[in-house]
């Protein structure tokens, strides 16, 4: 009889999910409000020069990279179960895993590229 498959990567994925949940919950409400609503609508003034200095600083870029990475893995983990439970497509298991975690890996690499080449 075949051995049950080992999934030593599972705890790591859960850790990333959890870190992403925490990072996005703590930081994103304020960031969405400012960057995606208040600045475009002119509710609050966007000071270009100080934003530039702050956002292009290497430490900020590293932090942003971390936020992007864990948030994308947070998405992958949750979205996987949305597809499993919401749509009940458990039989597409492998494809869903590939799409979700593959998407997170590709997104993380893209984020790294964007932030490195600013």
């Amino acid at each position: 009889m075949a051995k049950p498959p080992k999934r030593p990567i599972e705890p790591l994925l859960w850790l990333l999910f959890s870190a992403g949940g925490m990072a996005s919950a703590m930081l994103m409400p304020a960031l969405v409000f400012l960057f995606a609503l208040a600045f475009p609508l002119g509710w609050l003034p966007a000071n270009y020069e100080s934003l530039r200095v702050l956002l292009l600083h290497p430490v900020t870029r590293l932090v942003l990279f971390g936020i992007c990475m864990v948030s994308l893995f947070h998405w992958a983990h949750r979205f996987k179960y949305t597809l499993y439970d919401g749509l009940q497509v458990q039989h597409l298991n492998e494809m869903i895993n590939l799409f979700c975690y593959g998407g997170a890996v590709v997104g993380t690499i893209a984020a790294g590229y964007v932030l490195l080449t600013l």
Binding site: M26, L34, F35, A36, P40, Y48
Partner: protein
């Protein structure tokens, strides 16, 4: 395609298939699905954030152009919904934090509501900090 490892032939499930909309009946189920869907908006905001930062790097004209593009009604609508979902994610995330974290002070267990309150408090501080940092 994939072979079940525990038997040669997959047994037929003796289960009734639930409707795809099984979660629409009760609020806790709707809440569960909304919470799961919030992750899509988290992913969308990662993309938006990267576009935002890139526009800042490309110079003031590019930044102003990006803000104008973000001011389009469709973008504003998407981002308003994003804010709702991400706030919902934050509230529910901190609410279940006591279930994930069991902290001790000496030999005493920290009461769950204190753990949740600590997270909400930290959220307020972080949000205020980001406003201060980004509105200078």
């Amino acid at each position: 395609m994939s072979n079940p490892i525990y038997s040669e032939h997959h047994p037929r499930w003796l289960r009734q298939r639930l409707s795809t909309y099984w979660w629409l009946g009760k609020w806790p189920y709707v809440k569960f699905i909304l919470r799961e869907i919030s992750s899509v908006f988290v992913a969308w905001f990662v993309i938006y954030l990267l576009l935002f930062v890139r526009s800042v790097a490309q110079g003031e004209a590019a930044f102003r152009a990006f803000l104008e593009f973000s001011g389009h009604p469709v973008m504003l609508a998407v981002n308003a919904v994003t804010l709702l979902f991400i706030t919902f994610h934050a509230i529910t995330w901190f609410a279940v934090a006591p279930q994930a974290i069991v902290a001790h002070m000496g030999t005493k267990k920290v009461p769950p509501f204190l753990i949740a309150a600590g997270h909400y408090g930290a959220w307020v501080v972080v949000t205020a900090g980001l406003f201060w940092l980004l509105l200078r």
